[in-house]
Structures are given as C-alpha cells and as structure tokens.
Amino acid sequence: MPILDARDVSKHYDVRGIQTWALRGVSLAIEPGEFTVLAGPSGSGKTTLLNLFGALDAPTSGAVAIDGQDLAALSRSQLAQLRLEKLGFVFQAFNLIPVLSARENVEFVMELQGVPAKERRERALAMLAEVGLAEIADKRPLEMSGGQQQRVAVARAIVSQPRVILADEPTANLDSTTATKLIETMERLNHERGVTFVFSTHDPQVIARAHRVVRLRDGQVVADEKGGA
C-alpha cells in the first residue's frame, strides 16, 4: 500500500478574482522508503502537491490518502494529530520557531507527542549531533547561519520518527556545499532509517541524487522516472 496516495487531485485558487489552476487531475502514489523528487519550474504545482500530501491544504477535487487514511474525512484537529504522528516537514524558509533554541525546536514535536522530558532532551541532543550541530544546541535561530537552521529543521522533522518527511525546496536558500551536505544527511537517514522523503526542487544536484523523479508542468505530471541514483 502506498504511504502517500493522490488520486485525480485538482487544486484551484481564487486570488482577488483571478482564477488559477495549480493542479489539474494529478494522480501520484509514493511507496514507503522512496526518496522522491518533485521537479519543475516555479508555478508548476510542486508546493501545492506537497501541501496536499502534508494535510496542510485540501484539494478542490480528487482524494488524498496518507497511509490508507482518506484526509477528507478528518477534522482540523484530527489532521493535526495525523501530522504529528506520521509526517515531518522541512520548509524552504527554514521556519524554526524564533523564540526557541535549536534544542527546543527539535524537542517541540516530541513534546507534542508526549515524550518525557529526559528522553526528549537526550534524543534531541543525539539528533543534533547526528546532523553535526551539537555545539549550537542552545542558540536561537537568529544566531545561526542558513545551513545550520535548515539542518535543525531536518533534525526537527526526523526526530519524531515520522513515516514521511516532506521538504519544500530545502536547498533553495543554501550555497552548494551546504546543500550537498544537507542532501547527504537526508540520504543517509533514508537509507539507515527507511524514512520516506518527498522533495520539491529545481536544483539539478538534488534531482541527480533522487531515486524517483516526478516532473510537473502547469499542474500536471509530465514524466515519472524511476531508478536513478
């Protein structure tokens, strides 16, 4: 059974009277353990599709299921619970909580899951060490570089042991060395822990490392290449 399953989804935006179709009849299934890239130019619908997979937004038509569970049937608070249990996010603009330190940001989701304080702290520190950030555990986001913030974001996404991590252009604001390091980290986590990764990107370096590349254009899937690296 696919972990993420979109069936004939369309998404329609109405921005100040201007009608835009962000997705037109997309069907896509992601199997557990995949390391998939959604590729395409800006405006092709990558972010919209990630939003739908992340239960952050609802499609205009069609159905999205996570781990066999149809999202349309869930309330706002059930969706929040689902995200908490099964999904992790890494955003383009880092999006750490500015008033919390690196460690506290990583602990945030575990705290929501009800993990005891001591265990939380140990796991957060271990995770930060794993992404190479043990020394900045007590710094606030404003005191970190972009690469550091994005690695904290990855640590935050992974530490709660989600089934899937969704990442929207995670390398867009990073230089190429930092970007490579980030991708390597994620690849390792995919390999070692079997976490499913879905990215949106137009970075050729990232696309080259993906196992499956889904190309989008004008809200439609134009190619689905499996195999790769």
Binding site: T47, L50, F89, Q92, N95, V99, L100
Partner: protein, 409 residues
Amino acid sequence: MILRLAWRNIGRNKRRTGLTVAAAVFAVVLVVHMIALTTGVHEGMIETNVRMHAGHLQVTGAGYLEDRTLERFARWTPALARAIDGAPGVAAAAPRVNGFALLSNGPASQGVALLGVDPAREGAVSVWPERVVRGEFLGGGEREIVLGERVAEALRVDVGDELLVFTVAYTLENAYEMFRVRGVLRAPDPTLDRSLALISLADAQALLVYEERVSEIALLARDAARLAETRAAVASAVTTVSAEALDVNPWQRVMPELEQMLVIDDAQNYSMLGILVLVVTFGLLNTILMSVLERQRELGVMLALGLQPRALFRLVYVESLLLSGVGLAVGLALAIPGAAIMEQNPIPLTGEVAQMTAQFGVDPIITWKLEAWNPLAATALMIGIALLSALYPAAKAASARPVDALRSL
C-alpha cells in the same frame, strides 16, 4: 511548553510589551486608588454621621422611623439598659428623647430639634461633648441647655444666659420652662448647627411628661463590619425585656439619604471604572492581535508540526494573562504602598470644597482606606480584561492555516 513559548513571545517586542504593561499598571494604580479613595471617603462619611449622632444601630419603638413623633417610644427601664449593655458586640448605648422646641430670648426666637440626652452615656456614642466650643457639656445640673453655635447667635445668647423653651408635651399640652445656657457647640453641618439644642434626658422627660419613655437608644457597635450580627443580638436581647414591640434599625435605615448618596456615588464610580476597563481592554486587544497577525506564518509552522489549533488558542490566552499579570503585579506593587501612605496622610481640604463636604456632615479631609478586597477587585478586573481582550486574537490565532507556513517569502 505553552507557558515558556508565551513568556518568550511577550519578551520579543520589549517596547510594545512595555507600553501595554504600562497601560495595565496605570489602570491597576488608578483602580486601587479610586477604590481606596471612595472607600475612605465613604467610611469617613459613615463614621462621621454615625458618631455625630445616629450611632450604628438605633433601638426605637416600632415604626418610629416612619413618623418620628413622641407617639412612638421605647421604655428606658433598668432592665432594657442591662439587656442592651450586655448584648454581644455593643460598645456603648445612649438613650435619647427627640423633641422639637421653640427657643426664645425676648423677641428673638428659633425653632430647634430638642434632644434629651443622658450626659453620662452620650459621650461614649456621639461626639457632641467634644464639639463644645464655649462653656461645658451637660453635667448633672437641672434645666441646663447646650446650643448649636448658630442657634446661640440667632438668639443672641451665650454661656450663662437664660432662655425660654416652649414645646408641646406628650400629653399634647403646651410646656414652658426656663433653661440656662451651659455650653455652645459647633456642628460641622450648618443646618444642624442652626437647629440643635441639647438638654438632659431627665429634664426632657419631665418637660415632655414622658416618664421613662425615650425616642431612641443609639448604639455604637464594637465592629462596624459585623453590624448584622450585633443587630440580631440586640434584637433578641431587647424583645425579652420590653413590653412594647421595638425596632432595631441599622444606620442605613436611620439615614437613608446617606445610604442613597453612597449608592449613587458608587454607581458613578463604577461607570467610570467600566469605561477605563473598556479602554484598557482595547489596548491589550490591539497588542495581542498585532502580535498574532505578525506571527501568522510561525503559527502555521506550529500547526504543520502537529500542534492542535486549540493549543494555539491557549497560547494566546496565556500570553494575554501574562501581560496583564505583569501589569497587575507591578501595578499592585506601586499602588498598595501608595495607597497605604495616603491612608496615613489624609489630605485636608480648603475653600468651597471644604464647605461643601461640611454640608454633607463630613470633616473636610480626604482619607484613603485600603481594604483587602480592593486589590482583589483590581486583580479580578485585570483578569477579566485579559480574558476579554484575548478572545478575538486567540480565535484569530486558532484559525491560522498551516499552508501559510510553506508560503515562500
């Protein structure tokens, strides 16, 4: 976690938090002082009036307050005196006869409230003996009279002079008697000063053919705050020894004007407090709303990470409570010592205002009085403000959309 997040969030924009807290501090200080001032002034008015004449409680013949005539009386028997003196909570008791008389000295005449008082007991209840400015208060002598200053002026008499007292006795026969002025006293209320004459209870009873009857027995309670208890104790003590039905009236019934004036004054003060609360609520609402609107994206991230929408609602509520809590703490820390200092140092009034307070029977002094419920009321008010002002911003925060988290900058 919510608490920590909330605390750090309000620390984020120090200036904004500072101004909001300052508004809350201002409100708390204003509320505490306003209540302290009102309590002080009201208590002053009550105490002055109680000590001036009325007493905390008055034992009278049934229905006396309705018509205030000699027809309604209590019998001041040794048994009644013992019962009242022995009732728990009674500090002092003074029997009085309330009559009316025309005083005349040659062609000058003046109508006065003629009070028969027990010289030995009166001083413990009212301040009349202390108010004497010339001569002395009543002693054991017969046919002696103490006049209000303006009465003496109008009649052109002074200590040692004689005057004629004319009244109508209980028997409805005319009664005349010559009295010698023993003292002149000054009442703060000019109306009272113009219409007051005191004679001894024995003389009054003789003049009015009133035997052992009295109009009222004024009582001073040990603890003004527990008047209801004392009233009940006195009521049960007097019913056992009095043949006639008696009323035990609290000062509120004896002086309904005073009670009503306090109620109207309170209504005015509370309407002002209400408006102040409204203004401060809007101020707090704006601060919290701004901070929520600025953080839409961040709130979206938290939702995306799996935080429940109602937790965001709670977060905003905690922020609001913290803001007003800090304001409250600082406000109380400033206001309470301030009010305590004012309580020790009453402000004397001068000029027109002083004359006006005198008309209401109050010494021209503004006193603060800080009671325990005052800061509690301020606290309740601030919490109310916090709860009210956070409602809209919190709802706004809870309706944040997780997609906003992924919007590119």
